[in-house]
């Protein structure tokens, strides 16, 4: 049952859970990338490049430049097709109270990669600011026992704070961390 959903320019957030009253029910949070048109355009581009390669190859007249061009089109087409396997369609967090959490990434090609983390291994979920040479964004990460590096909950996607906060709160609730311990006072900015 969809209990809430949010949408912004790039992502759609869907929260599925049981009723509020019953505890111990599996909680699922999905973040789905928008822009399915863009992905179908990419597939179209890949097929177009391969087709163009074949046509140029069989064109009559001068061979050498045509052959080189057709090989490069073919290679670019294959490259686009291979890269499109890496395009993510959806990432989900499935929270199973007292058991663990499952992080899933679903790609355009239909492949799904999942990772299960038992509840005992999670120390704390944290919202961190990641700084790159060109930008800065929020991400949700987990401190895990025995691991030095933080584990990202969303590996490929970058959902906004308003989508990350309910997931973070749900994770805190499952692990039993008191949210008020984590920040002394927070002034939440709207917009």
């Amino acid at each position: 049952m969809v209990s809430s959903s949010l949408s912004d320019k790039r992502y759609i957030y869907i929260h599925e859970s049981g009723s509020e009253a019953s505890r111990g029910v599996i909680d699922i949070h999905h973040v789905i990338i928008k822009g399915s048109r863009a992905t179908s355009c990419l597939k179209g581009l890949a097929f177009f490049l391969v087709g163009l390669a074949i046509i140029i190859y069989y064109l009559p007249g001068k061979d050498n430049p045509g052959r080189t061009l057709s090989w490069s089109c073919l290679l670019s087409g294959f490259f686009v097709m291979i890269q499109s396997r890496k395009f993510v369609k959806k990432e989900s967090v499935i929270i199973m109270p007292t058991f663990g959490i499952q992080l899933e990434t679903q790609y355009l090609s239909g492949k799904t990669v999942s990772r299960f983390i038992p509840i005992g291994k999670i120390l704390k979920p944290v919202l961190v600011e990641c700084v790159t040479p060109v930008t800065c964004y929020w991400s949700l990460s987990l401190f895990l026992r025995g691991e030095e590096q933080l584990t990202l909950v969303f590996k490929e996607l970058r959902p906004s704070m308003k989508m990350l906060v309910p997931i973070w709160k749900a994770l805190c609730g499952v692990i039993g961390t008191d949210q008020s311990e984590m920040i002394t006072e927070e002034h939440v900015v709207s917009g």
Binding site: E129, V131, C136, Y137, M161, T184, E185, H187, V189, G191
Partner: protein, 436 residues
């Protein structure tokens, strides 16, 4: 519920902790005092080794260590436009109103100021050093400074000498330049509870980087002469640098191993413990815009002997300092005079006077006034701003205009690719000091 901060400042410089120095210290103390006054301060600097990302320091001071590699002397590689996206993101996230750049040698500072001006933010610049006019490096640096400062709202210098130097180098109108001196943490730099006796041995302390600029060569001439004239004087030299070898050679040549103690690099937390072992502090810098070192020494109750260069004469009252020309004989004469007036010095009284003369709270209040003036400056259109750059020089003016036009176009392009609404604002996290 905390009140909304009055001014939101972004301090930008290549020089910040964990690197240690005058500029870093200045930015940190000023930021802490501004936070206490109720403003919001964010610092932006480049990454130091593994230290990248967002860090919070005392009082909730947020520091962005942007992962740009430093290339020469801790400054970021100058790419002119590549820092535009991250500067824009930080300015929008933190809802900054004033951008405050520090140090003319910092490329990150100049780039951030340029981008901030393009995006219409108020900009303040603080110059911490004196520079020359004659050599090739200085000529180019001054041209960059002219470009950077052509369009800023206000500038701050740390001494009157520094103000003259900055105005001459950059061509800024004098009315836009304010003089706010540095200060010293008098709570940390206190005299020893029991002053070391000056009856038998007088200790002269030197703490500086052993480089040409700081007059290490003068020390090599002065120390043997003083040791010869005054058998009861010993020296303690703290600090490290390329001229360390020359000082070691001097010790060997004049057999002064028992009279000159070399401590090597002294971490800032230990500077006070070294200072309180001495009676006189010797500063032999060849150029200095302000010189915080002599403030620290005076705060610890030491009589200072210094070269009369740059802004040094403005720092201490005449009865706390003996000045000399940067010439070995004149310095020896000054040290002799200092030794003769040493019995009349009262360290506690000196410390109390320093407390009244210098405090970071005062610096913060004065800086706040500068920010208020900057915020009151009117917003200029792109064409008005471009006309200021044209006066920078025949060729340079046109080059600067092109640079600004390209920056403006890149900013508009960025706004198309990533609209302002897409940049999420970071919440203000207030740190409560006492535990519940």
């Amino acid at each position: 519920m905390e009140a909304e901060p009055k001014i939101r400042v972004l301090m930008v410089s290549d020089f910040f902790f964990p690197n240690f120095g005058g500029v870093e210290n200045h930015i940190y103390y000023l930021s802490q005092c501004l936070l206490k006054l109720g403003h919001k301060v964010v610092v932006m600097t480049h990454a130091y080794g593994n230290r990248t990302g967002v860090r919070y320091m005392t009082g909730g001071l947020k520091v962005y260590y942007v992962p740009w590699r430093p290339f020469v002397m801790q400054t970021t590689f100058p790419t002119v436009y590549a820092t535009l996206p991250i500067v824009r993101t930080i300015l929008k996230r933190e809802r900054i109103t004033v951008v405050h750049g520090h140090q003319a040698f910092s490329t990150l500072c100049h780039e951030a100021l340029m981008h901030a001006r393009t995006m219409g933010y108020r900009v303040v610049f603080t110059d911490h050093s004196l520079y020359g006019f004659a050599d090739v490096g200085s000529i180019h640096m001054n041209k960059v400074l002219q470009f950077s400062l052509a369009d800023i709202d206000q500038a701050i210098c740390v001494s009157h000498t520094s103000k003259e130097n900055t105005v001459l180098r950059s061509g800024l109108p004098q009315a836009k330049v304010y003089m706010i001196p540095n200060a010293v943490d008098t709570a940390m730099f206190k005299p020893a509870s029991v002053r070391p006796s000056a009856d038998h041995v007088i200790t002269i302390v030197v703490i500086s980087r052993l480089v040409y600029r700081k007059g290490a060569d003068l020390l090599v001439e002065v120390i043997p002469q003083v040791c010869r004239l005054h058998p009861n004087v010993r020296f303690v030299v703290g600090g490290d640098g390329p001229k360390h070898v020359r000082l070691e050679e001097m010790r060997e040549k004049h057999s002064l191993q028992d009279r000159v103690e070399m401590l090597g690099a002294v971490p800032h937390s230990r500077v006070r413990s070294v200072l309180v072992t001495g009676h006189i502090f010797l500063n032999s810098s060849l150029t200095e815009a302000f010189c915080i070192a002599i403030l620290e020494a005076a705060s610890c109750g030491l009589l200072t002997v210094s070269t009369r260069v740059g802004g040094v004469p403005e720092v201490l009252p005449d009865d706390m300092v003996v000045l000399a020309e940067p010439d070995p004989d004149d310095m020896v004469r000054a040290i002799q005079k200092a030794i003769s007036i040493l019995p009349s010095i009262n360290p506690e009284e000196m410390h109390n006077r320093m407390k009244k003369l210098y405090s970071w709270q005062d610096v913060a209040k004065r800086t706040e006034i500068v920010y208020d003036r900057a915020l009151k400056c009117s917003n200029r259109s792109l064409l008005e701003r471009l006309s200021r750059f044209l006066s920078c020089g025949a060729w340079a003016g046109k080059v600067f205009c092109m640079v600004m036009i390209i920056d403006y176009l890149l900013w508009r392009l960025l706004q198309l690719l990533q609209p302002d609404d897409d940049i999420e604002e970071a919440p203000d996290i207030n740190f409560i000091n006492d535990k519940k």
